[in-house]
């Protein structure tokens, strides 16, 4: 058994920067490089796109960019890769990765594994009972259902590594599990060893958001300053067989790894910190001990866990109508009074054109568009204001009315209105995401292997 493994993050979401992944591959001295590329609605959005666009391959649209950036260095160092870039087509992604491996001169016989089994759209209404958010039967989603996927754990990835995969590409897998799978494989952790898995999944949780633990989503000038915030690195975890780890990053980069960045990330998107549910284990963050042991080096020990639950979470995407959205601008003395009249005009126009909306929101961006009703009554009037309007509707035809009424503000509006030329579609389809639970034993992952 290795006394220590080095795991680096390659991405924290689909749109993440590619250069820090290359940097980790080239200078991180990594045993594993792990990519997380999905948000809650990613799978459903991919399903919608693939129905409309037959040329969409169904995996991460940045797969080529990411693989070209990291494969040369990963092959040189022998760094293995675990990634959820497969989205709705892990096997297609695996074949594409084999293509790039060949381009980079990988040795014949090198294996890429695809993990399937997460997509249960066809069976979801039989396998699930209630919607977690509102308690209604999942069968009420029958007519609007786009896609359903189970959050799988680390086990199928571990199996793929055991069968010799150098790169493992999956569909939906719980984010921390992507990072924990190498620990389970290298250290021989049992899938039911909840203390080890609690620690491993906790480390995975700290890694899954990439730069959010190395200084990203953190800086606040004068309060929380971060060096060179234009040059963040993605994190590296030096993990020991007992599940303790040191979090760090490539030297000479911007950002920081300190107690504050680690604490903020530890609780990010967590509800009960003593019971963080994942497919592999229930993580307890409350026992954790953190220690700054050097510049940009934080030791994390004593994370713990509790036995996993008998169910897995299912994410169910449904079409739920449309949002129409646009904005226009005022500046100088009286910007707010003109914006207020513009709001009134829109409200009256929406009555005249009989806009059929579930909700309409008209904000003054610069004053109350972000914090809404929490904006203090005595907030100072800004010099510039955008009037931003959005409506949620059942049909696209209704959503289009929002932009069309904003068009009218050009020559039929009020004085000194700044307007954009309508250069893009100002409507978008809503894919609502609901959750449910499925018995663990009903989900059987499958592995496919591809060779260079």
């Amino acid at each position: 058994m290795k006394p220590l493994i080095r795991i680096g993050a390659g991405s924290a979401w689909w749109g993440d920067r590619v250069e820090p992944a290359r940097l980790n591959a080239e200078r991180g001295d990594l045993d594993y490089l792990c990519f997380e590329t999905m948000a809650e609605a990613t799978i459903s959005a991919a399903q919608v796109r693939s129905r409309r666009d037959p040329s969409f391959p169904g995996y991460d649209t940045y797969l080529d960019d990411r693989m070209r950036a990291v494969l040369p260095a990963c092959l040189k160092r022998g760094t293995k890769i675990v990634t959820n870039q497969g989205w709705i087509n892990p096997r297609g992604a695996a074949e594409r990765i084999v293509h790039w491996l060949r381009e980079c001169g990988a040795p014949r016989g090198m294996k890429v594994a695809a993990v399937d089994g997460s997509l249960i759209t066809d069976r979801v209404l039989e396998l699930t009972d209630r919607i977690l958010e509102n308690g209604k039967p999942t069968s009420t989603l029958r007519d609007t259902l786009v896609s359903a996927e189970v959050y799988q754990g680390a086990e199928p990835i571990v199996d793929a590594l055991k069968q010799g995969a150098h790169i493992v590409v999956s569909g939906r897998v719980a984010d921390p599990s992507i990072f924990m799978a190498p620990m389970m494989y290298e250290f021989g952790w049992d899938a039911l060893d909840h203390m080890k898995l609690g620690a491993g999944n906790g480390i995975g949780h700290l890694m899954e958001c990439g730069a959010q633990v190395t200084g990203g989503y953190f800086a606040d000038p004068g309060f929380k300053d971060v060096p060179d915030p234009w040059n963040f690195a993605f994190p590296i975890a030096e993990v020991s067989p007992d599940g303790s780890a040191v979090l760090t990053k490539v030297a000479g980069t911007g950002g920081a790894v300190n107690l504050q960045t680690v604490k903020e990330q530890m609780l990010y998107e967590v509800h009960d910190p003593a019971n963080y549910l994942t497919p592999d284990v229930v993580v307890d963050f409350t026992t954790a001990r953190l220690e700054q042991i050097g510049p940009d080096r934080v030791r994390v020990t004593n994370l713990s866990g509790k036995p996993r639950t008998p169910t897995l979470k299912v994410s169910i995407g449904c079409t739920e109508g449309y949002i129409g959205e646009d904005m226009f601008f005022y500046a100088g003395p009286g910007a707010l009074r003109r914006a207020q009249l513009a709001k009134r005009i829109l409200e009256e126009r929406f009555k005249i054109v009989q806009l059929d909306a579930e909700e309409v929101r008209i904000d003054y961006l610069g004053l109350n568009a972000i914090h809404g009703a929490m904006t203090p009554a005595d907030a100072p009037e800004p010099y510039e204001i955008a009037v931003r309007v959005a409506a949620r509707t059942r049909t696209r035809e209704e959503a289009i009315k929002v932009g069309r009424e904003v068009d009218g503000m050009a020559v039929s509006g009020i004085g000194m209105t700044g307007k954009r030329v309508p250069h893009q579609d100002r409507t978008r389809e809503i894919i609502g995401v609901w959750s449910s639970l499925v018995p663990r034993e009903k989900i059987v992952p499958s592995l496919s292997f591809y060779e260079v």
């Binding site: 990010y268 009960d272 739920e320």
Partner: protein, 116 residues
Amino acid sequence: MKVMLQHVAHARSGDKGNTSNICVIAYSEALYPYLRDQLTAERFKAHYAGVVKGPVQRYEVDGLWALNFVAQDALGGGVSRSLCLDNYGKSLSARVLAFELEIPDRLAGELRGPRN
């Protein structure tokens, strides 16, 4: 003395569906008890009135000097349905920085950031 929370603690918000969690972490161990005693779930909810529409649950993580607030019905129906420009509620954590706390004068040296 009365100070804004931003001098006492830092915060980060995250989203899951229509629920926002906002963690609030004291800058020092000495400041943490004042944060824990004064920033209750009820006061937190009142401070977010108009945006947080559901119940607020508070979790304490004493070892991290941290409070984690879980606010339901806080994201306009959920990330994909929300009409708010900041549909993930990433900037919601900034609101708690304006909460006012009473801190003993002897802890002035523990406070962060410029004060007027």
